[in-house]
């Protein structure tokens, strides 16, 4: 009896972990039945490239949500840091150096969020809602509302968003590399362990001697850095920085995290889930396009899928 319960529990645990993956497979099967061209290598590679930007942002969001927080400013951080990168390139700075500096500036913007939340004791939702508006405003001020173009023709820079390496789109490679690094950080370092501990029980984490404020600032900085990295891909792909870039990206990122099974109350979740969540959203977008569903209706479908995923998750938890 006891072992039966334990067995059932273990099966439950496995489905909990595999849930998002099973969902992704089911989605792929459904889409490819309706349109076999979905499975063509070219389309799949294209899909990976499309997913990369959301996945990178969602990785950062995973850390934030694991601490029990939220970051609404990621889209604005992307816009501001990519505008700054483009500005540096226009003024003649080496594009790769511009990207590195831009990413660091993104981390600084994230640190601002972290400091408002820890030192300013603001709710993450409020703090990042404010900086979302503020960073977007700064982007518009900096760009005067116009796209920044004329970024030069550095090969390395073009490769970053548009190129292929061994036949795989470079953004997709960046997405997988970032995943590997972040997986190690989350699961193998004290920083990762502390991230979970804070989300699981912030008071206990504090009393265990964890510098909760510092970890949180680092987590929001990481989210900012990854948003800026996503911004760099976007700038390269568009060969310009758009002042309105990244609008509503926070919603897709949060959706990817939630679809990946991470708990919004913090402490529970896996970054692999987030990657799968991003792939689910990408497959939906791509598949619905292939099926000729109007973009208006696509939004409805995406919303429904999120609701279904969360409902299934609830059932499992109960």
């Amino acid at each position: 009896m006891d072992s039966a319960i334990k067995g059932a529990k273990q099966v439950g645990n496995i489905t909990q972990k595999l849930g998002p993956f099973v969902g992704l497979l089911a989605l792929i099967v459904v889409v490819s039945i309706f349109n076999s061209s979905f499975l063509e290598p070219l389309n799949l590679l294209n899909l990976l490239r499309q997913v990369a930007i959301n996945a990178l942002i969602a990785y950062g969001m995973t850390f934030v949500i694991l601490t029990g927080g939220i970051d609404l400013s990621v889209g604005s951080v992307l816009a501001l840091s990519s505008a700054l990168m483009a500005g540096m390139m226009v003024s003649g700075l080496d594009p790769i150096l511009a990207i590195i500096i831009g990413c660091l500036l993104g981390a600084v913007m994230g640190a601002v969020n972290g400091l408002l939340i820890t030192k300013g004791k603001m709710a993450p939702f409020i703090a990042t809602l404010a900086t979302m508006t503020m960073f977007r405003g700064l982007t518009l001020v900096y760009t005067d509302g116009n796209p920044i173009t004329g970024l030069g023709d550095s090969y390395a820079f073009q490769l970053f968003g548009r190129g292929y390496f061994l036949g795989i789109p470079v953004p997709a490679i960046t997405m997988f590399l970032a995943f590997a690094v972040l997986w190690v950080i989350l699961h193998k370092t004290p920083f990762g362990r502390k991230t979970y501990a804070i989300g699981g029980n912030e008071k206990a984490a504090l009393i265990s001697g964890i510098n909760v404020s510092r970890v949180k600032v680092m987590v929001y900085s990481l989210a900012g850095l990854l948003s800026a990295l996503a911004g760099a891909i976007l700038v390269s792909r568009l060969d310009s920085a758009q002042p309105t870039a990244g609008e509503a990206y926070e919603l897709d990122a949060i959706a990817a995290v939630v679809l990946g099974g991470t708990s919004l109350s913090g402490g529970r979740g896996l970054i692999i889930g987030t990657l799968i969540g991003a792939l689910i959203i990408g497959t939906l977008n791509n598949g619905l396009n292939l099926l000729g569903v109007s973009s208006f209706f696509q939004m409805v479908v995406k919303g429904v899928v999120i609701i279904i995923a969360v409902l299934i998750d609830r059932k499992k938890a109960a």
Binding site: P190, Y196, A197, N201, K203, A204, G209
Partner: protein, 496 residues
């Protein structure tokens, strides 16, 4: 109204809280109810007011058998309960608070503010209080909030009012006012049950006193026929059993020293030290400031007055992270809320404060971590199949062992234990005591805050008694007994 309770029994699960309690409340008397923390006072009052139901015994009002299914029924019968934690809605006005859920309405369902004001004013006049009705309750002093609660109780036409530690947060002047109100209530035939730990107050305002101990009534006596000492004796008069392992104290240098420690309005001028290999017991009543002192010492409440020395060096403990680096460990009284990450496996909980010690090149060395954890699980005999079991699935005693394991892991110089055996069964208790002895044998200084007097007496080499935010006295192992501790804890003096 005459209330009589006889032979009341009540258990929560296997925990027998009341085992035959008798109490009788007469018309227009102020009746004190006293007893140690956990004696069963609150449970008895909750049965009286319908929050809990008795398992056994008789409960009569004016000779008629009664059972209240819920607090509302008790209230309708004229029994009001003013809880220790005041139930005001801080964002609502005084007036809104007075009438919450009882607002008079017109036939169109609109609230009759004028009528409310008239009733409220009349009530406040009777009580001789003057709180502006439009003030937000959150901005009222605790004393004023108390008056709001009393006015609310009277508006329900209460014949019996139970006051649980009403003076705990009041200033002397406010207490005087409260006593005036109690006297005038008494004159109009209202009975008061007055629960307090403060001996002086009870002897000032009460007519009779019932003392409870371990779920029994010791007795009820008229106040003029008893004394401080007599009441203390009745409260604590139980034998120490050999629940505690033998201790051979052997203390060394002072590892921790505190001079003039204070936090405004919470505690002040606290001086003590803890020596290597010593267990310092910290006794006192709930709310005396024991836990607050420890939290400050551990850097949990930020800025403080006074000085803290570790190994003779003056240190500035700004946050727990610093405290841990200094070799302090803190086992809090709230195991689930502050001690454990319940969703974490045992392993991660134990390793949490020690992560640094098995991190190489920024990576956690999982093999070392596992060995470290396994060793501690074995040493503390945590009953579990695997270190991967989540902490929430363990019993209270095993959870507490995990918390202790995590602090032993840092190799502490000073271990602060706040209510270390709360909610822990007898067997596990003894194991925890044994562990404390082992730790002191290895030179750890232990500070143990406890509300269980037998535990304080059984384990401590020295006892500090905290009363109203300061250390009222220090007793060594030989001189410490329950009566002396209770006397100091309730504001009395101990000679010699």
């Amino acid at each position: 109204m005459k209330i009589s309770m006889e032979n009341i029994h009540k258990a929560f699960g296997t925990n027998q809280v009341l085992e035959g309690v008798d109490m009788e409340i007469k018309d227009g008397e102020v009746h004190a109810l006293m007893g140690e923390n956990g004696a069963g006072k609150s449970t008895l009052m909750k049965i009286l007011t319908g929050l809990h139901q008795k398992d056994e015994g008789t409960f009569t009002i004016d000779g008629e058998e009664k059972t209240f299914a819920n607090p509302k029924e008790a209230e309708q019968f004229g029994i009001a309960f003013i809880h220790q934690e005041l139930n005001v809605w801080p964002d609502l006005t005084v007036l809104e608070n007075l009438f919450i859920n009882k607002e008079p309405v017109t036939k169109f369902g609109l609230i009759q503010t004028k009528k409310m004001k008239a009733i409220a004013n009349e009530q406040f006049e009777k009580l001789a209080v003057s709180i502006p009705l439009h003030k937000e309750a959150g901005e009222c002093s605790v004393g004023e909030q108390q008056m709001i609660e009393i006015a609310k109780a009277l508006m329900t036409d209460a014949k019996v009012i139970i006051m649980d530690e009403p003076s705990a947060a009041l200033t002397d002047r406010e207490i005087e006012k409260l006593f005036d109100v109690i006297r005038s209530l008494k004159a109009s035939g209202v009975s008061i049950v007055y629960i307090s730990h403060r001996m002086e107050e009870i002897f000032t305002i009460c007519d009779r006193i019932t003392v409870m101990r371990d779920g029994h009534t010791v007795d009820t006596t008229p106040i003029p026929e008893t004394s401080f000492d007599d009441v203390v004796r009745k409260m604590v008069g139980r034998e120490l059993t050999d629940r505690f392992p033998e201790r051979t104290p052997d203390s060394g240098e002072a590892v921790l020293e505190v001079k003039g420690l204070g936090r405004k309005g919470v505690f002040q001028d606290v001086n003590f030290n803890a020596r290597a290999g010593e267990i310092v017991g910290v006794a006192g009543l709930m709310g005396a400031g024991r836990t607050e002192i420890m939290r400050t010492l551990f850097g949990l409440d930020g800025k403080y007055d006074g000085e803290i020395f570790v190994n003779g060096q003056k240190v500035d403990v700004k946050n727990p992270s610093q405290a841990v680096k200094l070799g302090l460990g803190f086992i809090t009284e709230d195991r689930k809320g502050e001690g454990l990450v319940l969703d974490f496996p045992i392993k991660d909980n134990i390793a949490l404060p020690s992560l640094r010690s098995f991190t190489k090149n920024s990576l956690i060395q999982e093999k070392e971590e596992q060995e470290f954890v396994d060793l501690l699980i074995k040493r503390l005999t945590v009953k579990t199949e695997s270190s991967k079991t989540e902490a929430k699935n363990l019993s209270g005693g095993n959870q507490q062992k995990v918390v202790i394991a995590k602090w032993i892991g840092i190799g502490p110089k000073v271990l602060i234990l706040d209510e270390p055996t709360r909610g822990v069964d007898v067997g596990a208790k003894r194991e925890i005591y044994q562990l404390m002895n082992e730790l002191t044998d290895r030179g750890v200084a232990i500070i143990m805050v406890s509300s269980e007097l037998p535990e304080v007496l059984g384990m401590s080499d020295r006892v500090l008694v905290v009363h109203e935010g300061t250390i009222a006295g220090e007793l060594n192992r030989e001189e410490a007994d329950q009566e002396k501790i209770m006397t100091l804890a309730t504001g009395g003096q101990v000679n010699g």
